[in-house]
C-alpha cells in the first residue's frame, strides 16, 4: 500500500496553512473549527487548489512539487473526493453519476452500496443517506489510490448519521486506502479515524490516536476541542433496566441509553471523578486502575486511569496527591454515559 505524503504552505485570508502529514493505509481525521483550512488541504491534494508551495505524492507518484514545477491536473490524480454536499450531477441518473467515475465496475458498486434499485433515479429524488452512498460509489468507480471525505456526515440528520457512520467505518476498514476525513466533530473523528489531527488557523496542533488526544491534549484548545472518552464495547440490556456494556478494555459499564451489539460508550472527562477508593455515591460506573498519565492544562489536570480520562481541578489533584502509577478509581454516572449505536466496531 502506498503512502500519501502531504507538505503544504499556502496563504489563506487571515493566516497561513502550513502542514505536513503522511497517511499510510489508515484513516486520518483532520478536525478543527470551520475556516481552519481543513478543506483547503483536501482541495490541494485533489489538485483543485494550487498551494503557494508544497509537495503531494502517493508513493512514487508525485502530483505536486512546486520547487520542481510539477503540477498534475486533478483528472490525472488517483483521488476519490467526496464533497460535503456530495456534488452529485443533478442532470444525470444515479447510474450515470457512478459511471462518470469509471464504467467497468458500475453494477458491482451499485450492488455493493445497495443503490441498484435507485439506478435510474435522479439525485434530487433520493434521501441524504442514499446520496452519500452514490457519492462514495462514484468516487470509488475511479479506483482511487486515496480517499478524501469532506465532512461526510454533516449533511445528514441525527438519526441517519449514526447508521451511516457505522457503514462508513466498515467500508473504510474494508477498503484499506489512505483516507483523509475532514470534520469538526470529535465523535465522528474518533469513531472513523485511527489518528486525529487537530488543525487551527492552518497549523496542526497535535496528531494522535483519539484516546491520546483526550488523555494528553497538547494545549487547552485541543482539550476543548476533543470531546468525550470513547470506549468500545458490546452492549446488552441488563436486568436492572440499564444497558450493560462489556468494554473491550475489560471493565463493565452501565448506561441509561438503550443499545445492543457493538457500541462506543462516550463520557466527557469532566463528568468523571477521581477518588482513592470507590466512593459510595450515585455513580454506578467505577474503573480501578493505575494512573497512566497526568497532564496539566492551566488550572485543570487530565488524569488517565486505564481506558478512561478524567478532568479534575489542579487543586483536587494536589489535595488527593495524585501520582503516575498510583491505583485510583475513576467514577461516572450511568446518565453521563452516552452510547453511540454501532459507532465503533470492535474490529480495531
Amino acid at each position: 500500500m502506498e503512502t500519501l505524503g502531504v507538505d503544504l504552505d499556502h496563504g489563506l485570508r487571515s493566516f497561513r496553512l502550513s502542514l505536513a502529514l503522511d497517511v499510510g493505509a489508515e484513516t486520518v481525521a483532520l478536525m478543527g473549527p470551520s475556516g481552519a483550512g481543513k478543506t483547503s488541504v483536501l482541495r490541494s491534494i485533489a489538485g483543485l487548489l494550487r498551494p503557494d508551495s508544497g509537495r503531494v505524492a502517493l508513493g512514487d507518484d508525485t502530483w505536486l512539487d512546486t520547487p520542481r514545477r510539477i503540477e498534475v491536473p486533478p483528472e490525472r490524480r488517483r483521488v476519490g473526493l467526496v464533497f460535503q454536499e456530495y456534488a452529485l450531477f443533478p442532470h444525470m441518473t444515479v447510474r450515470a453519476n457512478v459511471a462518470f467515475g469509471g464504467r467497468e465496475r458500475v453494477d458491482e458498486l451499485l450492488e455493493r452500496f445497495g443503490i441498484a434499485a435507485l439506478a435510474d433515479a435522479r439525485p434530487a429524488t433520493i434521501s441524504g443517506g442514499e446520496r452519500q452512498r452514490v457519492a462514495l460509489a462514484r468516487a470509488l468507480a475511479r479506483d482511487p489510490g486515496v480517499l478524501l471525505l469532506d465532512e461526510p456526515l454533516s449533511a445528514l440528520d441525527a438519526h441517519t448519521r449514526s447508521r451511516v457512520r457505522q457503514e462508513l467505518r466498515e467500508l473504510l476498514l474494508d477498503l484499506g486506502l489512505p483516507t483523509l476525513i475532514v470534520t469538526h466533530d470529535f465523535e465522528d473523528a474518533a469513531a472513523l479515524a485511527d489518528r486525529v489531527g487537530v488543525i487551527v488557523d492552518g497549523n496542526l496542533l497535535q496528531v494522535g490516536a483519539p484516546s491520546e488526544l483526550v488523555a494528553a491534549p497538547a494545549d487547552t484548545f485541543v482539550a476543548g476541542f476533543t470531546g468525550a472518552n470513547l470506549l468500545r464495547g458490546v452492549a446488552r440490556a441488563a436486568p436492572n433496566g440499564l444497558t450493560e456494556v462489556a468494554l473491550d478494555a475489560g471493565f463493565t459499564a452501565y448506561s441509561v441509553e438503550a443499545a445492543t451489539g457493538s457500541v462506543a460508550l462516550a463520557v466527557y472527562p469532566w463528568e468523571v471523578s477521581v477518588a482513592r477508593d470507590a466512593p459510595d455515591d450515585s455513580a454506578v460506573n467505577h474503573v480501578r486502575a493505575p494512573i497512566a498519565s497526568l497532564v496539566t492544562l492551566g488550572n485543570r489536570v487530565r488524569v488517565q486511569i486505564g481506558p478512561v480520562t478524567a478532568e479534575v481541578t489542579a487543586q483536587s489533584c494536589e489535595r488527593l496527591g495524585l501520582r503516575e502509577g498510583e491505583v485510583v478509581v475513576a467514577s461516572f454516572k450511568a446518565t453521563g454515559a452516552r452510547l453511540l449505536a454501532g459507532g465503533v466496531s470492535s474490529a480495531r
Binding site: R43, E75, G80, F83, E85, A87, F89, P90, H91, F100
Partner: protein, 275 residues
C-alpha cells in the same frame, strides 16, 4: 377582501403602462382585415424580406452560438486581470446606438474602411451584401446571448465542475458533460433573446448593408420602405414581426423553467451554492 389604497395605486399605474404598450400592437393587428393581411404577406416585397431575414438571422445565430458560448464560458469560469473590461466590451453593443454600430462596421469592413483594402485584395466585398446583414445582426444581437450565457455558466455549482475533474474528466469533457447541460436552460433563453433582437435589427443594417430588396432588405427594413409606398403591406409585415417576436420572447421565458423541471438542475445546485 377589500383592496388596500396602495394596491389600487399599483394596479392603476400598471394599467396605464400596459395599455400604453398594448395599444400600438392592437392598432397594427386591428387596422388590417384578414384579406389585407394575406395580400400584404404574399407580396413580393414581404416574401423577399422574409427569405432574407430567415437566411441572415439563422447564420447570425449560428455564429453567435459558435463563438459566444466559448467566450461566455471563458469569462464565467476564469478570473483574470481585465476580465471586467472584456465583459464591458462584450456588452457594449447593448447600449451603443445601432446607427453607431452601422457606421463602425462600415468603417471597419467597408471598401474604404480599416480592413477594406485587405478584403478587396482578397476579392471580398462585404458592404451592401447579405454578409453585411449577417455581421450587423451578429454585432447587435450577440450581447443578448453572451450576457445571459455568462450568468448561466456562473450559476453552475463550482463543486460540480470540481467533482467532474476529480472523477477523471479533463476541462473539455467537464465543459461538455457538466457545465453545458447544466447551463442549457439559460443558454436557450439567451439565444431566444438574441434571436428576437436580431429579427428586429434595423439601424446598423440599413447603414452597413442598405435596403436592397431580395438581397439585404430584411422585414424591418421592408416595413420602413413600404410605409411610404403601400401602408397595408407595411402593417402586414409589422403584424408578422409582432407575432414572431412575441413568440420568441415568450419562449425565452418558458425554456429555462421547462429545463429546470426536466433536469432539476437549478433546484439541486442551489443549497450547495449558498453554503
Amino acid at each position: 377582501m377589500r383592496p388596500s389604497a396602495f394596491g389600487v395605486v399599483l394596479w392603476a399605474a400598471a394599467c396605464v403602462a400596459l395599455a400604453f404598450l398594448l395599444i400600438p400592437i392592437v392598432a397594427i393587428l386591428s387596422e388590417l382585415t384578414l384579406g389585407e393581411l394575406r395580400d400584404g404577406l404574399t407580396s413580393d416585397v414581404a416574401r423577399d424580406a422574409l427569405r432574407v431575414t430567415a437566411e441572415t438571422n439563422l447564420v447570425a445565430m449560428a455564429l453567435i452560438l459558435l463563438f459566444g458560448t466559448p467566450t461566455a464560458y471563458l469569462l464565467a469560469s476564469r478570473s483574470f486581470r481585465g476580465r471586467t473590461l472584456l465583459v464591458t466590451l462584450v456588452e457594449l453593443p447593448l447600449v451603443l446606438p445601432p446607427a453607431v454600430a452601422g457606421i463602425g462596421l462600415l468603417a471597419a469592413f467597408g471598401r474604404l474602411g480599416l480592413l477594406g483594402g485587405t478584403l478587396e485584395s482578397l476579392g471580398v466585398d462585404i458592404a451592401f451584401t447579405k454578409v453585411a446583414v449577417i455581421l450587423a445582426v451578429t454585432f447587435v444581437a450577440s450581447p443578448f446571448y453572451v450576457r445571459t450565457a455568462i450568468a448561466a455558466f456562473e450559476a453552475v455549482d463550482p463543486d460540480l465542475v470540481a467533482a467532474s475533474r476529480t472523477l477523471g474528466a479533463g476541462p473539455a469533457r467537464t465543459f461538455g458533460r457538466v457545465a453545458l447541460p447544466l447551463a442549457s436552460g439559460g443558454l436557450g433563453a439567451g439565444a431566444a433573446l438574441a434571436f428576437a433582437r436580431g429579427l428586429g435589427e434595423f439601424g446598423a443594417t440599413i447603414m452597413f448593408a442598405g435596403s436592397l430588396q431580395g438581397v439585404t432588405q430584411t422585414l424591418s427594413l421592408a416595413v420602413y420602405q413600404e410605409f411610404d409606398v403601400d401602408f397595408d403591406t407595411a402593417l402586414a409585415i409589422g403584424a408578422l414581426l409582432v407575432l414572431g417576436s412575441a413568440l420568441v420572447l415568450f419562449a425565452a421565458k418558458v425554456i429555462p423553467s421547462w429545463r429546470r423541471s426536466a433536469s432539476t438542475s437549478i433546484t439541486v445546485s442551489a443549497p450547495s451554492a449558498s453554503r
